[in-house]
C-alpha cells in the first residue's frame, strides 16, 4: 500500500491508501476520491487545472518535464513547490507525501 496525505482547499487533511502497482496519476486518484478538481484536459499537461502544492516529499518526486513546467508558468499562483497532479505517478515516490489541492473547482 502507498500512503500519502491530501489537503483540500479548506486545509482539511485526509490520508489516502492506494494499492501498489496501479497505473494511475495522482489527478486520477483525486478525481476517483471525489475531490473537486477540473482536470479539463484529462491528464495531458495542457490545462493546468490539476495544480497541487507539494507540502512534503517534493524532492522524492521525479522532476517535472518541460510540458509540465510550461503549464505551471501559466498559473498566477504557482510556486517552487507546485506540480500538476496529472503528471505525478502514484507509486513509491509519493509515499508519505503531503499534497494540497490548488487547482480550479468544477
Amino acid at each position: 500500500m502507498i500512503q500519502f496525505t491530501i489537503e483540500d482547499r479548506d486545509g482539511e487533511p485526509q490520508m489516502l491508501e492506494i494499492p501498489e502497482g496501479i497505473n494511475l496519476s495522482l489527478m486520477e486518484v483525486l478525481k476517483a476520491s471525489e475531490y473537486n478538481i477540473l482536470a479539463t484536459c484529462g491528464g495531458m499537461a495542457l490545462c493546468a487545472t490539476c495544480h497541487v502544492q507539494v507540502l512534503n516529499g517534493f524532492d522524492n518526486l521525479p522532476p517535472a518535464r518541460d510540458a509540465e513546467l510550461d503549464m505551471l508558468d501559466t498559473l498566477p499562483d504557482a510556486d517552487a513547490d507546485s506540480r500538476l497532479a496529472c503528471q505525478i505517478r502514484v507509486d513509491e515516490t509519493i509515499e508519505g507525501g503531503i499534497f494540497r489541492i490548488r487547482g480550479e473547482e468544477q
Binding site: L38, T40, C41, M44, L46, C47, A48, T49, D66, L69, D70, L72, D73, T74, L75, P76, D77, A78, D79, A80, E104, Q106
Partner: protein, 334 residues
C-alpha cells in the same frame, strides 16, 4: 440588431456542426463565442493534437477538424460574433428571444441553442489588490489592439509564451515595457525567452524577475503598480497599463442564471430532442447532461442533428418536416 432563426452560443465543434444540420432544414444561424476564434476546446487547448475517434477520419488534427467544419458549413453563410460573451437572454411577447453580449451586441432569434462546452474561457486572474477596480481602466487580460499601447508605460505579468511574445512586440511601440515574472527563468519557447533577455540587456525593456505584482494604485485610471520581490522588498513603478497574461480557464458564466435546470455545471436535457426545461432553448455538446452522457465530439454531432429536427417547428410553425438524405437532395444553399 442581428436577426436570425437560431442563435448558437458557442462556436466549438458541436455549435459549428449544428449550423450544417440547421442549414439542411433551411434554418439560418448566428454564432456567438467568447473566444476570438472558432473551434472551442479544439482550437484553444489542443489544436495540434490528433483525434482518432471521428468517424471516417482514422486521424485528424483538432484544428484541421475545425477548419473542415468551417468549410462544410460555408454554403449556409452563418454569421459570427467572436470575442464576446452572451450575458442576457430575454423572452419577447411572441415567445422569441433577444440575446445580448457583454459588448452590447443584440441578436433576435426564434430558438437558442447552447453549445457552450465547458463554459466561457476566461482569463486567469492573479491575486493583486485592487485588480478588478482597474479593469478597463488600464488593466486588460489580452491585447486586442496594440496601437492603444503606443507610447504608454506598459507592465506585463506572466512567464508563458504570450507574455514573452507581447513583451518583444510591445518593446517596439510602447514608451516603456516592464515584464514581471515569478521565477528567474522562462519555460516558453527558448527563442522568445532569449529575445527577452537580450532586450533587457540592451536596456530596451525592464525585466523584474523573482517578483510578483501585489497591488495597484491610481486615481480613476491605473497609475502605479507595486511589485513584491521574493525577499519581500516592495518597489512601486509608474504605469499606464497592466496586462496579466496567465492563460484561460473555462467558467460556466452567465448561463447559470437563466433558470435552466443545472446539475454540476451541466444543463439537464430531454434526450428525445436535447431540449432544456425552458421552451425553445436547447443544449448540445459538452454543456448538457443526461443518463449515459459521453463528452465526445461524436455525441455532440448526433445531438445537433436531433435538436434541429425539433427546433424546426418553432422556425416554420406552419410547415411539416419530412426527413431526407443529403444524398437525395444534395446540400441546399441560401
Amino acid at each position: 440588431m442581428i436577426t436570425t432563426d437560431i442563435c448558437i452560443i458557442g462556436a466549438g465543434p458541436v455549435g459549428l456542426f449544428a449550423v450544417f444540420e440547421a442549414g439542411l432544414l433551411k434554418m439560418r444561424c448566428h454564432l456567438i463565442d467568447a473566444l476570438p476564434q472558432v473551434g472551442g476546446q479544439l482550437s484553444e487547448i489542443y489544436p495540434q493534437k490528433p483525434i482518432y475517434d471521428i468517424p471516417g477520419y482514422p486521424e485528424v488534427k483538432a484544428q484541421e477538424l475545425v477548419d473542415n467544419l468551417m468549410e462544410q458549413i460555408e454554403p449556409f453563410h452563418p454569421t459570427f460574433t467572436l470575442g464576446e460573451r452572451v450575458e442576457t437572454l430575454e423572452r419577447q411577447a411572441d415567445e422569441s428571444f433577444l440575446l445580448t453580449t457583454n459588448e452590447g451586441t443584440a441578436v433576435h432569434c426564434q430558438v437558442v441553442v447552447i453549445a457552450g462546452g465547458l463554459g466561457c474561457f476566461e482569463p486567469r486572474k492573479p491575486e493583486i489588490q485592487n485588480l478588478e477596480q482597474f479593469e478597463g481602466k488600464g488593466v486588460a487580460y489580452m491585447v486586442k489592439n496594440p496601437e492603444q499601447l503606443r507610447d504608454r508605460r506598459v507592465v506585463l505579468a506572466g512567464g508563458g509564451d504570450s507574455a514573452l511574445d507581447w513583451t518583444v512586440f510591445l518593446a517596439t511601440i510602447a514608451k516603456e515595457v516592464t515584464l514581471v515574472h515569478r521565477s528567474d527563468s522562462f519555460r516558453g519557447a527558448p527563442d522568445s525567452a532569449e529575445k527577452v533577455f537580450d532586450l533587457a540587456k540592451e536596456g530596451r525593456i525592464n525585466l523584474v524577475l523573482q517578483s510578483t505584482i501585489t497591488s495597484l494604485q491610481g486615481n480613476g485610471h491605473l497609475q502605479e503598480v507595486s511589485i513584491t520581490a521574493k525577499d519581500k522588498t516592495v518597489t512601486t513603478l509608474a504605469a499606464d497599463n497592466l496586462i496579466p497574461l496567465f492563460g484561460l480557464t473555462p467558467k460556466l458564466g452567465p448561463i447559470a442564471d437563466w433558470n435552466l435546470s443545472i446539475d454540476k455545471s451541466a444543463i439537464n436535457v430531454d434526450t428525445t430532442d436535447y431540449s432544456t426545461n425552458v421552451d425553445r432553448i436547447y443544449a448540445i455538446g459538452d454543456i448538457n447532461t443526461y443518463p449515459g452522457k459521453l463528452k465526445l465530439i461524436l455525441s455532440g454531432f448526433h445531438e445537433a442533428a436531433l435538436m434541429c429536427q425539433s427546433a424546426f417547428k418553432y422556425v416554420y410553425p406552419n410547415q411539416k418536416l419530412s426527413f431526407k438524405y443529403t444524398t437525395v437532395n444534395g446540400i441546399p444553399t441560401f
